[in-house]
């Protein structure tokens, strides 16, 4: 008893072939889209790799690029098969390749499922990498004379301006590090000396933030220094002032950016899985409809198409039996060897 059989006459076969050809080309476009999204994601990760300590994992974008290319190839081949399917001479060329092709499509769908899963799960890894990377970035902000870290200041300033954020968790992270290099501190000045000596590690700490934390939407000129000292500025209360500097932390800002990107890519991959399944079902119907034609010379005859030759349970039973026999060919059959050994 075939699983989900459908009767086909010539018109239905032609319509199925044409519709399937268009869906295959749509899938090629989706494959190109996945490929370009993979490249875009890779570029974005590279751009912000300084914020992540150059430690970020490129697994997801690389997988996306691979999947995109595979999708293009597989679907283009499928489209070609559909295009040739109504011409029996050309179709005979493709007939032997169809079963392995459908198995390849199944494997490809599994790969897509894995990629979608990774898109959702790798967000945790991105979060952790960001937390670690930003902490180090803030620590190395002042080291503009150290080779390899010359541009950390610039990158961090750009990030804070672009993502409208300040510090790692919030602006108080800047109070805990020395972000002004010793080159620009007048060590002969008493105030400077006092401040440096006031903490164990000898760091010049102060309650100020860099200019990139300033909010341009504030009605008053930006207050960067003595942020927690209300009396240092006229008409200023740091507890209720929200518009002066960005209150969001950069880790949260960057994470929400990457997370929304990865979530939308994951949703697109799930849509691709559904599209690929539709492709596979259509192709199976088309090939079975063409194979079961009683009179191959007469294109007008009717034929049957189905998804599975036997029912679902029986097909699975057959598959399991095949797998068992594959396993058994490697085992030594005990009964046969003993008489040989005896001889």
């Amino acid at each position: 008893m075939p699983f989900m059989p459908v009767k086909f006459n010539l018109q239905k076969r032609v319509k199925l072939a044409q519709g399937l050809w268009m869906i295959y080309w749509l899938s090629v476009i989706v494959g190109i889209l996945l490929f370009s999204l993979g490249i875009f994601f890779k570029i974005e990760l590279r751009k912000r790799s300084e914020m992540m300590d150059n430690n970020e994992s490129h697994l997801v974008p690389n997988l996306l690029i691979l999947v995109g290319l595979l999708a293009c190839g597989v679907n283009a081949f499928g489209g070609k098969v559909c295009h040739d399917s109504l011409d029996p001479i050309k179709f005979a060329k493709w007939k032997p390749m169809l079963k392995p092709f459908l198995l390849l499509c199944c494997g490809f769908n599994a790969l897509l499922l894995l990629t979608a899963l990774l898109c959702f799960l790798m967000q945790f890894a991105v979060y952790l990498t960001l937390a670690e990377g930003l902490k180090n970035s803030i620590k190395f902000y002042k080291d503009t004379d150290t080779p390899g870290r010359c541009f950390m200041k610039r990158t961090l300033d750009l990030t804070q301006i672009e993502f409208r954020c300040c510090g790692n968790n919030n602006f108080r992270d800047w109070f805990e590090v020395q972000w002004i290099s010793n080159r620009y501190l007048d060590m002969s000045n008493d105030l400077v000396k006092d401040r440096v000596l006031s903490n164990v590690e000898g760091k010049y700490l102060m309650d100020s933030v860099p200019f990139s934390c300033c909010n341009p939407g504030s009605p008053r000129p930006c207050i960067q220094h003595h942020l927690t000292n209300n009396s240092a500025h006229y008409d200023y209360d740091h507890r209720i002032e929200e518009l002066n500097i960005w209150t969001r932390g950069c880790r949260e800002a960057l994470f929400s950016y990457f997370s929304s990107m990865m979530t939308s890519i994951g949703v697109l991959i799930i849509a691709t899985i559904i599209l690929e399944s539709v492709d596979m079902a259509g192709l199976k119907y088309l090939t079975t409809a063409l194979e079961t034609m009683e009179d191959p010379e007469n294109p007008e005859c009717e034929s049957d198409g189905w998804l599975l030759e036997k029912g679902v349970k029986e097909t699975f039973g057959d598959l399991l039996a095949k797998l068992k026999t594959l396993g058994k060919t490697n085992q030594v059959v005990e009964g046969g060897d003993a008489p040989e050994a005896a001889n």
Partner: protein, 371 residues
């Protein structure tokens, strides 16, 4: 003696009409391109409308938009004509419009050229507008509580951060105006009062700039206050320090940005104009003219599927020029009193031009009157 006479079979006529149709649709696409370029320029100008004083610069994008729409309309009409040319019945409808259409196309290509040249001429007006606009914007930077100017501070800050510029001509523009509102100045402090009294207009002036002037590439944290005072900061010399603040003025930065956009648009429009001219001369004039004349000849011969001749001009250049000059002379003479026939313009004057009796120039046989 026709100019460049060619024989056309029905198939060749159809093919000619189809090629013209395709060319016209490509021209529609270029019309859409012109329209979208005009729209883009308009959007870009309006985005920074707050920073530009009232000047007549909207005419350039408006012209481009109008020219783009007219291009679409004319070429769409041309496409329709060519599409209908294949069918001789429909061709009769368009017969009268062909010549005006050709004249319109000529006039329109001239408009496209004018549009391209205007792109390059906009620069002077734009510079003037930006100069005035930026001066005003910097002056009203502090007025974040005045309705209508609340967001000027934000706009100027974002502009300076995005275009990497400071002030109108340079950062010293900020020293000449009060950019901190009185709401945030402690009038009870002696220093503040002294500074206010130190100049005629009672403005709080200082050698400081807003944070948005800070240069990202500077290796040291930004020095915004006491910019010209070397002793206020350790190891600092403002004359040689080039990386601390953005050195470029915002007027120059914006002008360069808009000039770049307009040069690209102007170049694209010039290329479109060249394409239109080629399209008009080669295909519309020759193709449409050939189509028109060959179809007219087909109608004269009466057989729709036959071969027919097509030409550019029916007689040679000299004769056509002579005929046209005579027509113009007669137009001029129409107002003068003709003394030859005792001033009566209604007396029949024998025609000086030869009658045209079709391509063979054989006069028709007289139809015998029925008795």
């Amino acid at each position: 003696m026709a100019v460049l006479r060619l024989k056309f079979t029905k198939n060749e006529r159809d093919k000619l009409a189809q090629v013209l149709w395709i060319l016209n649709w490509i021209s529609v696409l270029t019309g859409i391109l012109l329209f979208s370029l005009g729209l883009f320029l308009k959007v870009e100008i309006n985005k920074r409308g707050e920073l530009m004083a009232e000047r007549d610069i909207q005419y350039v994008p408006n012209m481009l938009i109008a020219v783009g729409l007219i291009a679409c309309a004319i070429n769409f009409l041309g496409g329709k004509i060519c599409y209908d040319c294949v069918d001789t019945n429909k061709f009769l409808r368009w017969k009268l419009i062909m010549l005006p259409y050709i004249i319109c196309t000529f006039f329109f290509t001239f408009c496209v050229l004018v549009g391209a040249l205007m792109c390059y001429s906009m620069r002077g007006e734009l510079e003037e507008s930006l100069n005035l606009g930026l001066t005003e914007a910097i002056r009203f930077y502090k007025d974040t509580d005045t309705p209508g100017r609340c967001f000027l501070k934000r706009t100027v800050d974002m502009l300076q951060m995005e275009f990497h510029c400071c002030g109108n001509n340079g950062y010293k523009d900020w020293f000449q105006i009060q950019w901190i509102s009185n709401r945030y100045l402690d009038m009870s402090q002696k220093e503040v009062v002294d500074r206010l009294r130190s100049n005629v207009e009672g403005k709080y002036l200082m050698s400081g700039v807003p944070f948005s002037c800070c240069n990202l590439n500077s290796p040291r944290p930004c020095i915004q206050q006491h910019v010209t005072n070397n002793s206020a900061h350790f190891n600092y010399e403002h004359q040689t320090e080039a990386l601390n603040l953005w050195m470029r003025g915002c007027r120059e930065a914006l002008l360069e940005y808009y000039t770049h956009i307009m040069q690209s648009i102007g170049l694209t429009v010039l290329l479109t104009w060249l394409f239109e001219v080629m399209d008009a001369c080669l295909s519309v004039l020759t193709g449409v003219r050939y189509l028109q004349t060959s179809l007219e000849n087909v109608l004269r011969q009466g057989d729709l599927n036959s071969e027919s001749d097509g030409w550019l001009l029916e007689n040679s250049f000299m004769e056509t020029a002579r005929t046209n000059l005579n027509i113009i002379k007669c137009l001029g003479k129409g107002n003068q009193i003709d003394t030859a026939n005792n001033g009566d313009p209604n007396i029949n004057v024998p025609s000086t031009s030869k009658a045209h009796y079709g391509p063979d120039n054989v006069p028709l046989k007289e139809i015998p009157e029925a008795s």
